[in-house]
């Protein structure tokens, strides 16, 4: 199914609360980005891809997940384009359509696991999170080295009482958190369906 570029652009703009056509490609976002040096498509290029309707191509870029959300781009943009917001929108679109750059599928798994963790507990349970993430990552690429890479940090963290086996005070009303998650997912779904009508 080929999708109308117009609709895709509108989706990004709605999610990011910004107008991509305001961008005149000056490059200031790329200039200030702490990650631009390693990106396959810097922020300027990502916005350009959205402008031309190549939203899915943009969403599939590795750079979407290389962004650290430091907001330097948005802060200094001479046209007040919410660039970081566009990157967030592209992330969401890439997850929804399962087109995330292969190299960063682990990151998506982590983010998803993070949210699952909150959905379950209301707050993050760090140890559970790290363990679970390592496990999914392992099943994702079967690399025991990656799975153990951060164990090295985990042990001194435990000795400094920084990592807890038991989470702090638990959330009492966990059910409401679940309902919030479900409602947000449902809203997004109905919005996209409405768009397609």
């Amino acid at each position: 199914m080929s999708e109308s570029p117009k609709r895709l652009i509108a989706d990004v703009e709605r999610l990011a609360h910004t107008q991509v056509n305001d961008c005149y490609q000056c490059g200031k976002c790329t200039a200030g980005c702490p990650r631009a040096g390693v990106m396959d498509a810097g922020p300027t290029r990502l916005i350009r891809l959205v402008q031309t309707g190549d939203v899915l191509e943009a969403a599939a870029c590795e750079s979407v997940w290389q962004c650290v959300s430091c907001l330097t781009c948005t802060t200094r943009c001479p046209k007040s384009v919410n660039i970081a917001g566009v990157v967030d929108a592209l992330r969401q679109i890439s997850v929804e359509r399962n087109i995330t750059a292969r190299k960063y599928s682990r990151t998506v798994l982590f983010q998803k696991e993070f949210l699952r963790n909150i959905r379950r507990n209301g707050r993050t349970n760090e140890l559970e999170l790290v363990a679970a993430w390592k496990l999914v990552a392992f099943f994702d690429d079967w690399s025991p080295f990656k799975a153990l890479a951060d164990a090295r940090l985990g042990i001194p963290m435990l000795t400094r009482h920084k990592l807890h086996f038991k989470p702090g005070s638990p959330v009492k009303d966990k059910a409401v958190v679940r309902r919030i998650f479900d409602r947000c997912a449902a809203k997004r779904k109905s919005e996209t369906e409405q768009e397609q009508d």
């Binding site: 005149y24 490609q25 000056c26 490059g27 200031k28 976002c29 790329t30 200039a31 200030g32 980005c33 631009a36 040096g37 498509a41 810097g42 300027t44 290029r45 330097t72 200094r76 943009c77 001479p78 046209k79 007040s80």
Partner: protein
Amino acid sequence: MAKIGVFTCWCGENIARHVDVERVAKAIESLPGVHCSMNYKYMCSEPGQSLIIDQIKSLGLTGVVVASCSPHMHLKTFRAAAAQAGVNPYMVEMANIREQCSWVHADKEEATAKAIELIRIAVEKLRHNRPLQPISVPITKKALVIGGGVAGIQAALDIAAAGHEVILVEKEPSVGGKMAGLSETFPTLDCSQCILTPRMVEVNQHPKIRLMTYSEVEKVEGYIGNFSVTIRQKARYVDVNKCTGCGTCWNGCPNKRIPNAFDFNLGNRTAIYIPFPQAVPARPVIDSTRCIHFKNGKCGICEKNCAAGAINFNDEDKLVTEEVGAVVVATGYQLYSIGKEQTNPNISGYGEYGYGKYKDVIDSLQFERLISASGPTGGEPKRPSDGRIPQKIVFIQCVGSRDNAKGVSYCSKICCMYTAKHTMLYKHKVHDGEAHVFYMDIRSGGKKYDEFVRRAIEQDGALYHRGRVSKITEEEIDGVRKLIVRGADTLTGKPVTVEADMVVLACAMTPTDGATALAQKLSVGYDEYGFLSESHPKLRPVETNSAGVFLCGACQGPKDIPESVAQASAAAAKVLVMFSQDQLTREPEIAHVDESLCAACCACVQACPYEAIAIEEVLDRRGNLVKYTSRVNPGLCMGCGTCVAVCPSKSIDLEGFTEEEVYAEIESLL
């Protein structure tokens, strides 16, 4: 009894396609006052106009309604035709059945019905019109030019060359403006001072020009042809008539380390000073805020040394009133301020570039002084922090320009050109130096302009990066202070970092401080940035909506030297057209007061944007005061009608749009 002729135009197919012209003409015939109703293919054509003239003459018509295009198109044409046939031109009305009817309504029934109504409105108005006569006002053939930069100098010289007197007012101690401080000029690289200083001398010596430097316009009263201008001559503490400009005073002044504003604070001056050696007039001023004598009454070395006895510590500001017929505004520009301190709340400055924090981050006018042979370094591009010759300079374009978030939304137009010039001049002085330019678009439209930019790149090896800079930081590397410039090259999509010795910011051009205050004194409009508004962007580019006031140079919008000079000559030409007449004729569509009704409540006086209405005494034959009344100065009134709207007794009315006429129009729609 009105005898009105209605002439409906087909405009070829333009009107006739959607409006049944024959039916319209027929329907109009029976309207009250209408004596004849005709239609023709092209009313504005020679035979069309003849038709109108013939009908006026043969039927003795007293008024004419032409139903055709917009009055902005042809009202003048038909008024002239009517006048030719002996009908007062203000007894002509138009019904706009083309732009506002046939072109916008596809349904022929609807369009035809609307056309009939539009003509009915016009007929009803015309039935209440009265003949008007153009107004004549006398004229003082002397011009005031405000601003002594290159534009003001040109305008003054042109008007004076035609034999008229000119007063040239400049707020700084010397004429010359920004151009006097520039190094060389694009695209020919001729020396700015070499071409300007002869002109500066000429304005000072011209018998028809009265040069008033260190002076500002305080108050403007009057109207076209008859302005009365009050000028404040600031206390100079030096009698310019006695002074010979010998220089003993400023050479002997012990107070030598005052930042010189003419060098944008890169160089120093004394407390008694001329801003630069070629200043005109070559007469110093004393900066009373810095002079030791004004602090403690001591020193006085200049006074002792002055053989001419020209020093006068008791000097005071003087107010001078002059009568002039026309005003030319040439107040020029200044650079957008980059730092944190901003007067305009919509502008926030560029903290990320560290201007004001890092000494070697300078703006483009500062760089002009650094590479100018007459500048504080004698033309050597020494950097301000330690005097080293920079081996690598980064030039950043569009600082403040085209930046809705922090600066101004417009393009400042000249920065692309002068930045290319800067790279060349720098490379000519430092052959092995690197000149990096960060730009967004290169805008080099103009004769020999793009060739000039290409020369900078192709022959002088300037390195152009298409992208903006995000941040500048200062770091010491191997004992030398470097500016780390983090930019991007959007053509490669990669970030670019340059370790520079100096950074030059090409800042936006903004109107001079005080331009808007002056505009208010002159009743001239200005835009959100303070650039003064021309009357029409294409057809009246040097006129303003304040009759008798003209504009030239960068006060109207960003401009380079050739454009400013051309516009200055244009403004001078407009002044000379005015001065070629002995009396001025104005449209009579202005306000007038029925003095028998006026209660002198002053509502109109306060509402009038032109200060054209004043309260005056009404005297009887013996000179006794009967009452007060408001009275309109026909020279000042521009005919906006605001006074009519606010008048509680409706004793003031606007000719051409009287209460009676407008009500008649509305009532025709019943």
